[in-house]
């Protein structure tokens, strides 16, 4: 089963799902639950999920597997983004940065 976060909300895709094309949110976490294997977690920033012919493809602008996330760097990025949000409430770039950093940390299994 694949769980992703689209702009409408979370979507879970089981085998034999009807064809779907969804827009993914910035800073979402994608989970792939596999039989007899560990769950695959990835931080996905923007892009699409398309389901067709019993095949799920995720087209992300930027994606990172949970196991490959540099936790210290992500936490550092989150701290920096939060600091600049506190300094300037309207800082949209920093808000996106914070969201991305949070997604990366969550994908790595960290508490945020």
């Amino acid at each position: 089963m694949v769980i992703a976060k689209t702009v409408d909300g979370e979507i879970g895709i089981m085998p034999q799902h009807a064809p779907v094309l969804g827009v993914l949110v910035e800073g979402g976490v994608l989970r792939v639950k596999r039989e007899g294997e560990d769950e695959l977690v990835a931080a996905v920033h923007g892009g699409f999920i398309s389901v067709a012919d019993d095949e799920v493809s995720v087209l992300a602008e930027v994606a990172e597997l949970g196991s490959e996330v540099d936790v210290a760097a992500a936490r550092d990025a989150l701290d920096r983004a939060q600091a600049s949000i506190e300094a300037n409430q309207e800082d949209a770039d920093a808000a996106v940065e914070a969201q991305r950093a949070r997604a990366r940390l969550r994908a790595a299994g960290e508490e945020v």
Binding site: T6, P19, G22, S50
Partner: protein, 300 residues
């Protein structure tokens, strides 16, 4: 040593060092082609999927109109994205692209459109600024190793000027397509308004009869199409990068071959000159000895 001999020696030395340089350039280009090809391969799955998704949306939601797919009435301005290289030493690579761009310009102007060039690559930019042609935009510094962010930047600018009411009404791209190590073609494609093009790889995949959209077909298209344009531009940049290295390898190979041939001819000339000098010296000595012998015989 005669003056001619010295001159030939000097020329041979200079040609030899040129050959060393071109040979090194050839080897560097060969190794770069492989890496450029790998980057092309790596970008393929994304391009295939995004083409499939766009085809899916367009064929499922025929009623969806998007500013990027609709041809404007009475087009007045056209933009041409010209993809060239940053550095030279690659034979006719840039000349071919620019020649094709000029032909397209003529064609568009024949249709009554004003043409604005958008140029990537230092060679193309220099070519345009030397002729005082105004450019809509120029990007340099990544022709050998384009990143997706570069394609994104270019696409953002093109899409913005396309969406602008008084902006550009259609956008074409002139770039070099990498067919194989030995063959690269200059291709001209229209990228906006979009014509959804099926790449060869997707022909076999069937498109499902219906699709659900999250949230709606229009929203999906809205964020999908710019990505599609980016992906098309990125592919063009990658192909052009690989073609550039292939063209450079070929140009450097023929330069090395020419230098070796020149070295052969010059060495032959040098040997002839040296032999002529020796022959002359011998005949001078013999002539001198004979004269002395004759003089000695006359005294007796």
């Amino acid at each position: 040593m005669g003056a001619q001999l010295r001159l030939l020696r000097r020329r041979i030395t200079s040609v030899r060092s040129t050959a060393k340089i071109t040979r090194a350039q050839e080897l560097i280009a060969s190794s770069r082609i492989v890496r450029a090809q790998q980057r092309m391969q790596a970008a393929l799955p994304y391009e295939r999927e995004i083409t499939r998704a766009v085809t899916g949306v367009v064929s499922n939601a025929a009623s969806v109109d998007h500013p990027l797919t609709v041809a404007k009435d009475n087009p007045a301005k056209a933009g041409v994205l010209i993809v060239t290289s940053d550095s030279g030493f690659c034979g006719g690579f840039n000349a071919n692209v620019l020649r094709e761009a000029e032909a397209l310009r003529g064609l568009l102007e024949g249709r009554g459109l004003a043409v604005t060039p958008f140029v990537t690559g230092r060679k193309g930019v220099t070519w345009h600024s030397f002729r005082n042609r105004e450019m809509g935009g120029s990007w340099v510094g990544f022709s050998r190793k384009p990143a997706y962010a570069d394609a994104k930047e270019i696409a953002a600018m093109l899409i913005e000027s396309f969406k602008d009411e008084n902006g550009i009404d259609e956008i074409h791209i002139v770039s070099t397509e990498f067919v194989s190590m030995l063959s690269q073609n200059v291709v001209v494609k229209r990228i906006l308004p979009l014509e959804v093009e099926e790449t060869e790889a997707t022909e076999s995949t069937t498109i499902p009869p219906y699709f659900e959209f999250e949230p709606t077909a229009g929203d999906v298209l809205e964020s999908l199409l710019p990505r599609y344009v980016e992906s098309r531009i990125f592919t063009a940049l990658l192909q052009s990068a690989a073609s550039e290295e292939a063209a450079r390898r070929r140009a450097m190979k023929s330069a090395t071959d020419n230098a070796n041939e020149l070295m052969r001819v010059l060495t032959q000339q040098m040997n002839q000159a040296r032999q002529a000098e020796i022959t002359q010296e011998i005949s001078e000595i013999v002539g001198g000895a004979n004269a002395l012998a004759d003089a000695a015989a006359g005294k007796e």
